[in-house]
Amino acid sequence: MISIDLWVKEGYLSTPDGNSIYFWGFSEGEAAPAQLPGPRIICKQGEEVTVNLTNTLPEPVSLCFPGQTGVTVNGQPVQPQYVNGKLVSFTNHALIGETITYTFTAEYAGTFLYESGTNPHKQVLMGLYGGIVIHPADYDANMDKTAYGSDTDTAYDREYLLIVGEIDPDFHNAVKQGKPYSIKNYKPRYWTINGRCAPDTMLKNDIDYLPHQPYGSMIMCQPDEKVLIRYINAGVGSHPLHPHGNHTRVIALDGRLLRNGEFDRSYQRFTVSVNPGQTYDQIFQWKGLNYSSQNPIPTTIPNLRNMGIGDAGWTLWSGSPYLGEKADIPQSIQSLNEFGEYYFMLHSHSEPQLTNWGEFPGGLMTMIAIYSSLNENVGVL
């Protein structure tokens, strides 16, 4: 049995263009800051999950757990809430200053969303969402790992959770100032992965200057490893995502395995349209045309002079055609390469979403880094 405290609070998000955006988020307790997305709930199939929601906002807040069966409050199934006959919440809510406890049994392995069910056009867009990862009953972090249990063909070596969303700063400002806002004119200017816009998406977890955005989204692995990428779309737009130049195998949707007995319903996609409120589990394997520490990268490498990005002239390139090796980079260019690893993007194919308030590069983009050797503790949820 696991028990989690979620406090609903206000906070400020940082964007790479220097903006600071008021938001509502979940925090791990009274002393912890609100965060986007909310704290991850990681548990095992069959476990009982208890979530204590404490509301510090000036309006009721509730939690929905789409795809979880038998969610209860005080032993009773959750039900929509009304005030004077008007629908207020899709499930039982915590009034201002109240704490409410939700309980459910994690019946199915998979990737799920949790989000507010009260004024969702406002509260979810303001940031009240998070992810749930349920490992299968036979999961053992030290043994062969699978997403949906043995005999489901879902084995993986590393796993990453990417929760995408959008931000319309005008809307956030209006909520902050208590001013009216016409929600039909909702127009995002920022697109986020795990609450951050690129290039902040590539930073590590728990960076001290991003106290409200603790989760990085850099995907790191070795060649040929099976990487489980779990997408959740907590936003209200569709986001066509893909690892640049690569396919993934979609193994589950909304936390339900794409397999009927012997019939394997999983499929390869170059781009996965990640739709609102939905989750997509995929296995990604980078084989890279034998690019390794022994074989050079089998393409013509552009002139190094052309490999700097942006005015600052930085690059992620190692300077060497061999994986795991670093070589010379022109003096004017800063290399962010660590150990001769190879980088390529994972991004939204709706390219206007690769901006921070109109400025490229930014938005819904992160990197996949292929290391010749990588600690096994990387990519564990």
């Binding site: 929905c64 757990f65 789409p66 795809g67 979880q68 069966t69 038998g70 969610v71 199934p77 039900q79 929509p80 008007k86 629908l87 899709f90 499930t91 004024n119 969702p120 056009h121 406002k122 979810v124 867009l125 009216p180 806002y181 016409s182 929600i183 039909k184 909702y186 209200v236 737009g237 569709s238 949707l253 909304d254 936390g255 339900r256 794409l258 009927n260 007995g261 019939f263 319903r265 349209s273 739709n275 609102p276 409120g277 939905q278």
Partner: protein
């Protein structure tokens, strides 16, 4: 193999949405009546011949004032003739001075007393829910509301003990159900509807919906009972625990919509009228919400186990408002009673 005949008048009418009166164009099943949104539902069995007689101006107090037609996406070999005694020919796109103006044969305006109609004829060979919609200046006539559905049932769906009994797609398609509800999703831009209906200049590129509909109504009207208005269909879903509830979802609008199923998990059994289970292969799958692009259809089955109320809604939360106020828009309710 029966012949199902339906008479439809293309007509101007008025919708009551989010407390406002909004003009729309639709189809009426009888003359001197009001048009409906969605258009009258047409029911047939596989193998039936469906004949639709479309009137424009004849005995029509509120004609649309322009040429109209009906297109049947997903139905091959649609034929048409001048009603009642012309020769049937295959439908084809229509041009004026070399310019395309209709995707199928149309009926022009005429006199109030001029007995003139167009008869479409099609043999519905496959079960499923099919859209029918305007094929003439569709960018504005569909936007104005000219769409509805044809429900094609398998052969023995209403014959107890027949293997098709109470199935959506016949025996062996995992489509047995206890309750059936049709949910037609769409949206309306009230400004454009006003401009087009008034004959004002308008700009399609300004299309920006402000009403999001299930079966022609916005929440909370969606959970009210059926009536005789221009928006006759409610969409509340009622069942007992353990019932197999078949939801047949059709996106008749111009935008994609993601319908969230009250936190419940559904089994998707057909996409665009094509069953996912057939000849022993089970390609059905489970979802907590489904995304439908414009014109797409999906059939799914929910089997609720816990009594109570569940809301089904567009997961694009900014569509759950009426005049910017929650709750509203594209939302309806599932009521589950204890068995």
């Amino acid at each position: 193999m029966a012949v199902v005949t339906k008479y439809l008048w293309g007509m101007k009418g008025t919708l009551l949405l989010t407390g406002r009166s909004i003009p729309f164009w639709g189809f009426s099943p009888v003359f001197f009546s009001v048009p409906q949104l969605p258009a009258p539902q047409i029911e047939a069995k596989t193998g039936d011949t469906v004949r639709i007689v479309l009137f424009n101006s004849f005995l029509n107090p509120s004609p649309i004032g322009e040429s109209i037609s009906i297109l049947f996406p997903g139905q091959p070999d649609v034929m048409v003739r001048e009603w009642p005694s012309g020769n049937f020919i295959f439908t084809e796109p229509q041009y004026s001075d070399g310019q395309l103006y209709s995707l199928t044969n149309d009926i022009a305006t005429g006199g109030f007393a001029e007995l003139k109609a167009l008869e479409y004829s099609l043999i519905v060979n496959k079960p499923g829910v099919y859209l029918y919609e305007s094929g003439t200046r569709s960018e504005r006539q569909i936007l104005m509301g000219m769409y509805g559905v044809i429900v094609v049932r398998p052969e023995g769906y209403d014959i107890p003990a027949h293997p098709d009994f109470k199935t959506a797609y016949g025996a062996g398609t995992m489509s047995e159900y206890d309750r059936e509800n049709i949910l037609i999703l769409s949206e309306i831009d009230s400004n454009l509807n006003n401009q087009i209906d008034h004959g004002d200049d308008y700009d399609m590129s300004t299309y920006h919906p402000d009403c999001w509909l299930v079966n022609g109504r916005t929440f909370p009207a969606t959970v009210e009972e059926p009536d005789q208005s221009s928006q006759p269909m409610g969409s509340i879903i009622r069942c007992n625990t353990g019932d197999k509830v078949l939801l047949r979802i059709v996106n008749a609008g111009f935008n994609a919509h993601t319908l969230q199923l009250g936190g419940l998990v559904a089994q998707l059994i057909a996409e665009d009228g094509v069953p996912l289970v057939h000849t022993g292969t089970d390609k059905s799958y489970q979802k907590t919400s489904v995304t439908l692009g414009a014109g797409q259809r999906v059939d799914l089955i929910i089997t609720p186990t816990i009594p109570g109320e569940y809301y089904l809604f567009d997961r694009e939360y900014h569509h759950l408002v009426n005049n910017d106020e929650f709750p509203g828009g594209m939302m309806t309710k599932l009521e589950v009673a204890a068995t």
